[in-house]
């Protein structure tokens, strides 16, 4: 097990290294002159030259990349002409927009993103597996057909449609809920929950369709296997075949998918964040993209990549734990 984790960690580092090369090449080398972007539209050539010097853009590319990596691992010192600004590891540089440390900006945005991810995950897992289980238990009946269509409709509804619908219904017409505005959990847990409710449901509904389909198909796949026939031939009741024998086979895939999803939510719930005005990392990325704030873009991509890679390792370990037949090598 330890050996497995070490090997996976080494593999993950390799993947992240490749990712950083690609990201660096895409965002710092390809688009032309970062100094012009960093300095802003009203800079004169002298100011641009100064910025170029500050960012060490005169160095060879490999050296620049080395500094970029160094910053992430060990931190970096920036000289702003007179003073020296220290940026702690992991350092992704300074925002072109306001010279704030990018890492601080990310940390500031993390609570909203995490709130959304945890809640939506809970909603989608509960609702999705329950729906999948129910449709497998009632297979062949009207219940199953209704549930199948509901999940199909669920997968076909982008979150900005369902979110818009929820907003219109609950906030505008029924006025049961206030228009969501993020309140940190530490400030007021009750208000936090009320304001997160709609985002959770909107994202959770969408994701739950995926889990419902996965649960159902895993269950049906297992139900067609020979060992189910054995227990049927020994008088075990049909309901118990599903809950006791087939469900075990569905646990692994569902856990694995949810771990991977959870990882990608750290950068991926962009639409939901934008829809409900949550100050999360996804919203930060969209803003940074439209303002060409490259250090922020790069940081979000790297952080998301790291979260996903870690989540995938966790997914594989959980999958193996759920399915004892899988040996981790």
């Amino acid at each position: 097990m330890t050996g497995y984790l070490l090997r996976r960690a080494a593999g993950a580092l390799g993947v992240l290294l490749v990712l950083s090369v690609v990201v660096y090449a895409t965002f710092y080398i390809a688009p032309g002159d970062p100094a012009r972007l960093a300095c802003g539209p009203r800079c004169n050539p002298e100011q641009i030259a100064q910025v170029r010097d500050q960012l060490s853009l005169g160095d060879p590319v490999y050296l620049q990349f080395w500094h970029f990596l160094q910053g992430i691992v060990a931190g970096h010192d920036y000289s702003t002409g007179t003073a020296v600004l220290h940026c702690d590891a992991p350092c992704f540089g300074l925002s072109y927009q306001n010279n704030q440390q990018v890492t601080d900006m990310l940390i500031e945005r993390l609570p909203a993103t995490a709130s959304l991810a945890v809640g939506a995950m809970a909603v989608s897992l509960l609702l999705g597996t329950a729906t999948g289980l129910l449709s497998a238990l009632r297979r062949g009946g009207a219940t199953e057909r209704v549930l199948t269509w509901l999940t199909l409709a669920g997968t076909a509804t982008p979150v900005f449609i369902s979110g818009l619908g929820l907003l219109m219904l609950f906030c505008a017409y029924l006025a049961w809920l206030p228009f969501p505005s993020y309140v940190p959990l530490t400030e007021d847990p009750e208000q936090w929950a009320w304001n997160m409710l709609l985002p959770w449901v909107a994202l959770g509904l969408l994701e739950s369709a995926k889990y419902a389909r996965l649960t159902r198909s895993s269950l049906l796949e297992t139900l067609a296997e020979d060992h189910i026939r054995t227990f049927r031939a020994y008088g075990v009741a049909e309901r118990k075949l599903v809950t006791h024998h087939a469900l075990r086979g569905a646990v692994g895939p569902v856990i694995a998918l949810s771990a991977a999803d959870f990882g990608s939510m750290f950068g991926g719930a962009i639409l939901t964040e934008m829809m409900f005005g949550l100050p999360g990392i996804g919203a930060l990325l969209v803003h940074a993209t439209t303002t060409l704030d490259l250090p922020v873009v790069v940081a979000v991509v790297m952080v998301t990549g790291t979260a996903v890679v870690i989540a995938n390792i966790v997914a594989d370990v959980l999958y193996a734990a759920a399915d004892r037949r899988v040996a981790l090598r």
């Binding site: 020979d226 026939r229 031939a233 004892r324 037949r325």
Partner: protein, 551 residues
């Protein structure tokens, strides 16, 4: 259970049983019905045993499943009467049927690995079944019962092994575990559907012994479904021969085997290969020892995987094949015989040793360099389903090597393919048909035609008949023999079935654990085996004859 059945009443009474399945695409399109069992009647007395034998498609398994009402809710149409230990299976409601299943009649399935829940400990699975039928039993009592029955079927250290999962058991132990599950609730009838087909011959003998012992001890009845007349011969009192869903003949096992009344039964018996019978005309044309070897393997080795997970499938095997001779290779699963066969035609590269074809080392050649030799070394595969591309016509499959060689023009290729089809006993007009339109035996003939197309010097046949029924088996084996004689081919015939190998081989190689344990002229090895493993293997082969084996 319910009332104690009277002793005069038969354990199983089946009359006029018919089972029909909806035909067509999953029953959605309004197709007709396929009648798998058609007006079948039989009885089994209390404590008696019946073997249902027949070729594939005879409906024998379908009939057995009906004894436990397993066709209910599958879309199958079941008519007729089935009574098991006084319970009317057809009329029973779902709850009564569940009580019957496992409690009165228990089933043992063919593939012991897939028939057990991979996620749960074997003891727990047996305990679960026990508690379904003994509702008052505590968890602890059920566990104890599981250990008890596992011990009874010969699982060593049963209490501890009960906590193992199926994949931690060997094939034979899994089948023992399934039988233990069947025993758990002391059923009056055991229905075994091809219980030894997935097992090696030595393990098969042990399982059959176990079934005999258990019957003697508990007095339960047995319905044994098998395609193998030899398996049935030693295990049951009565035989029922089925064909196309109907009973052909029924009677006491010895009477039926010794003096079959029906032509079909006689043909079936005649087709069964006998391990104790010499190959007709053997020794007359065996290749002379002075012939230069065609294919020569020296210290051939194949390892899979790396590090501590590495498995040596073939370990230091040396083998010589001379022109025109047949070398039989026998071994149980895991003996490395298939790996060896694939190395001989260089579908696999050896990881050690030397492989010489006509003196030239081809063991280390790259794919590109091998092309010159490809036409001379061909293979006939085991699985008649996967060995032909379902999306190409059989004619095109056979033509493939000719087209790849690029020597003949289109008309000549088609003419040659038609000739080959005819040579293997098929109508040349089937050129444009697709594989799914053919039976298993016909597909093997097509596979043979394909192997013959490039005019090879040597053909490796990897279990070429093990997926076929005995009558088809006999025909394909005969065809291979004729082709070899007429074309002067060298054959390497790989099989797990010792009797089939004996029908074709000049020389015999016995493999075990990747190594050759014994080698010699076929008749010598069969009649005077030297190695203990060979002796055990031969002793385990089920025989149709009584106790004595005629020379």
């Amino acid at each position: 259970m319910t009332s104690e059945p009277r002793t005069s009443e038969p354990l199983v009474a089946v009359s006029g049983l018919s089972v029909a399945f909806p035909a067509g695409d999953g029953g959605r399109a309004g197709g007709g019905l396929v009648r798998a069992v058609d007006g079948l009647s039989f009885t089994v007395p209390q404590g008696g045993s019946l073997g249902i034998v027949g070729e594939s498609g005879s409906g024998k398994s379908t009939a057995a499943y009906a004894l436990l009402g397993l066709h209910r809710d599958t879309g199958a149409e079941v008519t007729g009467a089935v009574t098991v230990a006084g319970h009317d299976v057809q009329a029973a409601d779902d709850a009564a049927l569940r009580r019957l299943r496992g409690g009165v009649a228990a089933m043992v399935f063919q593939d012991p690995l897939s028939s057990l829940d991979p996620y749960q400990a074997i003891g727990d699975q047996i305990a679960e079944v026990y508690r379904v039928h003994r509702r008052d039993a505590s968890r602890r009592a059920a566990r104890a019962r599981a250990a008890e029955v596992l011990d009874r079927v010969g699982i060593p250290d049963a209490a501890r092994r009960a906590r193992s999962r199926p994949h931690e058991f060997s094939g034979g132990m899994r089948q023992r575990a399934l039988i233990a599950m069947a025993l758990a609730c002391e059923p009056r009838l055991l229905v075994a559907d091809e219980p030894t087909t997935a097992l090696d011959v030595t393990v098969q003998a042990q399982i059959l012994d176990l079934l005999r012992d258990l019957r003697a001890e508990t007095g339960m009845g047995l319905v044994l479904v098998t395609h193998d007349l030899g398996v049935a011969a030693g295990s049951v009192d009565e035989l029922l021969v089925m064909k196309d869903g109907r009973a052909v003949e029924r009677g006491p096992v010895r009477t039926l085997l010794d003096t079959p009344g029906e032509t079909y039964t006689r043909d079936l018996l005649a087709a069964v290969p006998r391990v104790g019978v010499r190959r007709p005309g053997a020794g007359v044309r065996g290749a002379g020892a002075d012939d230069a070897p065609l294919l020569e393997a020296t210290g051939l080795t194949r390892r899979f995987g790396r590090g501590k997970d590495a498995v040596t499938a073939v370990d230091d095997v040396s083998l010589t094949v001379r022109p025109g001779e047949t070398v039989g290779v026998v071994g149980e699963s895991g003996s490395g015989k298939t790996t060896l066969g694939r190395m001989l035609v260089r579908l696999l590269a050896p990881t050690g040793g030397e492989l010489r074809y006509r003196g030239r080392d081809i063991g280390g050649l790259k794919e590109r360099e091998l092309r010159a030799f490809r036409s001379e070394l061909q293979m006939v595969f085991q699985d008649p389903v996967s060995s032909l591309n379902p999306r190409r016509s059989v004619g095109e499959s056979i033509a493939d090597p000719l087209r790849a060689a690029g020597k003949l023009d289109d008309a000549a290729i088609v003419a040659r393919v038609r000739e080959l089809l005819e040579r293997v006993g098929l109508d040349p007009g089937v050129y444009h048909r697709y594989p799914h339109e053919f039976s298993g035996g016909q597909r093997q003939r097509i596979g043979i035609a394909r192997a013959l197309a490039p005019e090879p010097k040597l053909i490796v046949c990897d279990e070429p008949v093990s997926a076929l029924d005995v009558t088809t088996q006999a025909q394909v084996v005969r065809l291979l023999g004729e082709l070899q004689r007429d074309l002067g081919l060298a054959l390497v015939f790989i099989a797990h079935d010792l009797a089939v190998v004996r029908q074709v081989s000049d020389r015999l190689v016995v493999m075990r654990g990747g190594r050759i344990v014994e080698e010699g002229p076929a008749d010598t090895v069969y009649e005077e085996p030297r190695h203990a493993y060979t002796k055990g293997l031969l002793a385990a082969v089920p025989r149709l004859e009584g106790a004595e084996a005629p020379a």
